[in-house]
């Protein structure tokens, strides 16, 4: 049946197009990732039975006037080892049609949507992490009066190639007061509210489970001159999971976000904080994290350098409180410290800890109260993650550019990686990075990165963490098309001598216009790859990789 429809669409559409004046536009993008896996017992890398694994997708978008339609073909034959193995086979898991008419925006099929900062609903895709929880259904957007934006949606959320049993319904309204009332003042206000609910039948023989579970939030954004305040409060009603073991949790959940930023020319200050308690919201009650449809971002700096991101923070949606502050400052040009071009500084401090002191979801079974303010005063809480770092960026002269980072981090491996308490404890690291680029001549640049991580195990833990690392990266680029890179991560400080290994990796890339080709070869360390508050585990591997992406 599907094939017949597709066939008729392809057959008929050229004639429809020919009969119109403007033929519309077709665009798309394509990417394929091929990797080979060979056995390497020293790093616990396991060969794949298939030897090579491949992920690929093609997006096609058709636009004509107010109408847009699109589809995506995805192929996992079979999925790369860092992807969930339930991504298997081929399919067209994404297709939609959208039009706008008189201000009403209608989408049917698959769509992505975020309400506010995502605390109650975020349907998005991140191919790097292997996340795609698009909603399949209907979405309407309308702006009834100037400055008021309303969205309503209904759908089922996608996980792998299937759709959830739970039906998701949501509505969001955002009111931009200044736009609406045409205020001109220095202060502007934006108010918003969202409501999302999931319906799933109660098939539990022992417990009364709520079939309609709702999450709702209210948000406020105030801007005044260089200041910007954003606050959001989200609440989830009881959401017990299923199963018949006693200790069913009927506690409600809450999350509070408070961000304040200030900026002016040459200076920027940000303070972000959140308090989260039992706020994981999934499209099916009894499933795991692959079915999460909301988003609680991690409160830590997104580091670009490997050793700074070796131990990444991961949000604990079931209970955490945290703060993240940044100061961006540009020391002006032609001053003593600034030098000829100015120097950029970024000072960052982030910290996340538990909220077990007092009562919270983590400590009770069916009733709970939690005291957000108390949790911010972190005295008796378990540290999950802290990061204190300074980044200095300086252009020395026309040819040389320097980037230096120094950081001190604390990482609670037991909690953040879901291990048993006491196994690894809190790992302290001191990290230094020096990144120098030198312009040899027009279009030819060489860049060298040297990184060092000094690690200290937790004295009370039973296991040893990886220990100290050296890292070196050399990259040679020829504008506008080529890049060559080689890197080596050396775990010279590992407690176990047979684990003091070099992870060497080389890559060559060619870019032209909208096309990009990259070939790489080498060993990759097992690790955790995080984007936002979501992490995935990447197994160690040894082999070559090929990545081709292009758009048309």
């Amino acid at each position: 049946m599907k094939k017949l429809l597709l066939l008729s669409f392809i057959f008929v559409s050229p004639y429809i197009l020919l009969s119109q004046d403007n033929l519309g536009q077709i665009h798309g993008n394509f990417e394929t990732n091929l990797q080979s896996y060979t056995d390497d017992p020293s790093i616990d890398a396991v060969a794949a039975d298939e030897i090579i694994l491949n992920n690929a997708y093609l997006n096609i978008l058709y636009t004509k006037g107010n109408f847009t339609g699109g589809l995506r073909y995805e192929s996992y034959l079979n999925a790369l080892q860092d992807y969930d193995s339930r991504y298997q086979g081929n399919g067209m898991p994404y297709r939609f049609a959208r039009y706008t008419s008189d201000g009403l925006d209608v989408t049917v099929g698959n769509y992505y949507e975020q309400f506010g900062s995502g605390l109650v609903l975020r349907s998005y895709e991140d191919k790097g992490l292997g996340i795609d929880n698009s909603l399949d259904g209907v979405r309407l957007k309308y702006s009834p009066i100037n400055g008021l934006y309303v969205t309503g949606l209904i759908g089922k959320s996608r996980t792998y190639f299937e759709y959830s049993e739970g039906i998701i319904r949501g509505a969001d309204a955002e009111f931009n007061i200044n736009e609406s009332l045409k205020l001109e003042g220095k202060t502007s206000y934006i108010l918003g509210g969202s409501f999302v609910s999931r319906f799933q039948k109660d098939n539990n023989p022992a417990f009364n489970l709520p079939e309609n579970v709702a999450v709702m939030s209210a948000r406020l954004n105030i801007m005044h001159g260089g200041f910007n305040y954003y606050g959001e409060y989200a609440h989830k009603i009881n959401d017990p999971v299923g199963g018949v073991s006693l200790d069913k949790n009927y506690a409600s959940g809450k999350a509070i976000v408070n961000n304040l930023t200030y900026s002016q020319k040459g200076l920027g200050i940000t303070i972000e904080s959140h308090f989260v308690d039992h706020m994981e919201f999934r499209s099916e009650r009894a499933k795991q994290k692959e079915f999460i449809i909301n988003y609680i971002p991690t409160l830590s700096k997104n580091h670009a350098y490997t050793l700074l991101a070796l131990y990444p923070c991961a949000t604990q949606p079931e209970g955490e409180a945290g703060v993240n502050t940044n100061i961006f400052y540009k020391i002006p040009k032609n001053t003593l410290l600034g030098g000829k071009y100015g120097t950029k500084l970024n000072l960052n401090f982030a910290r996340t800890n538990s909220i077990e002191g007092g009562t919270s979801y983590l400590n009770d079974s069916s009733s709970h109260t939690s005291r957000p303010l108390k949790a911010i005063f972190i005295k008796n809480e378990i540290l999950y993650f802290s990061d204190f770092n300074l980044e200095i960026n300086k252009k020395i002269n026309k040819k040389v550019n320097l980037n230096l980072v120094i950081a001190k981090q604390k990482y609670n491996k037991d909690v953040l990686e879901g291990k048993t308490i006491g196994e690894y404890g809190i790992i302290s690291s001191t990290i230094a990075v020096a990144d120098v680029s030198y312009k040899i001549k027009k279009g030819h640049t060489i860049r060298l990165e040297l990184q060092e991580l000094l690690s200290e195990d937790d004295a009370t833990a039973t296991n040893h963490a990886d220990g100290d690392w050296h890292m070196m990266l050399a990259e040679y680029t020829i504008s506008p098309n080529w890049f060559f890179a080689i890197q080596d991560m050396y775990n010279y400080g590992n407690y176990y001598e047979d684990k003091q290994l070099h992870y060497v990796n080389t890559s060559i890339g060619y870019l032209k216009g909208a096309n990009r080709f990259e070939i790489g070869y080498g060993k990759k360390r097992a690790g955790i790859f995080c984007v936002g508050g979501v992490c995935k585990e990447v197994p160690s591997s040894n082999g070559f990789s090929l990545n081709i992406s292009s758009s048309f």
Partner: protein
């Protein structure tokens, strides 16, 4: 066998016919400006002068390098060609609060917008950043480039000068 033949003939017809209409323009997608207002990307114009749209993120080193490098010569470019650079950040709620402070502290003069759920990026086929588009005075996308290697800004300037003349 015949089914496949018919399918391929139709597909070829379809793509050849539609490729006649390849004047690529921006789709109608809303993004947020730094004041929190929703703006449709199609409403952005530059008086018939070229527009550069660059997708970036605060966590993307090559993106920041590209935009900082161009920032040093932006005034010159504007004087010569009248070009306007629109920097669209795909930072999601983890880092979108840092966009305005970072931009201001770096002293950028670009128009900066936020696309936190990648709606515009997705509709333009942007999967990685940096990804830069060049639009001519009529709003047609005439050139695009992925990634940033030091020296790429020279090629971008060449392309801009080519269409502004």
């Amino acid at each position: 066998m015949t089914k496949k033949l018919i399918l391929s003939v139709c597909a070829i017809t379809f793509f050849t016919v539609s490729s006649f209409a390849q004047n690529r323009t921006l789709p109608s997608v809303k993004i947020k400006n730094l004041k929190g207002s929703l703006v449709d990307i199609q409403t952005i114009e530059n008086d018939g002068n070229p527009i550069v749209i660059s997708f970036w993120a605060t966590w993307c080193k090559p993106c920041k390098k590209e935009l900082n490098t161009i920032a040093e010569v932006y005034e010159e470019w504007q004087d010569d060609t009248g070009v306007k650079l629109i920097a669209i950040s795909i930072d999601d709620s983890r880092s979108s609060s840092k966009v305005k402070p970072y931009v201001n502290s770096s002293g950028w003069e670009y128009e900066v917008y936020l696309d936190p759920n990648r709606d515009l990026a997705r509709s333009l086929g942007v999967s990685t950043v940096p990804h830069t588009f060049l639009l001519d005075g009529d709003g047609n996308i005439v050139w695009e480039h992925r990634g940033y290697i030091e020296g790429d800004e020279d090629e971008l300037l060449e392309q801009i000068e080519h269409i502004s003349n």
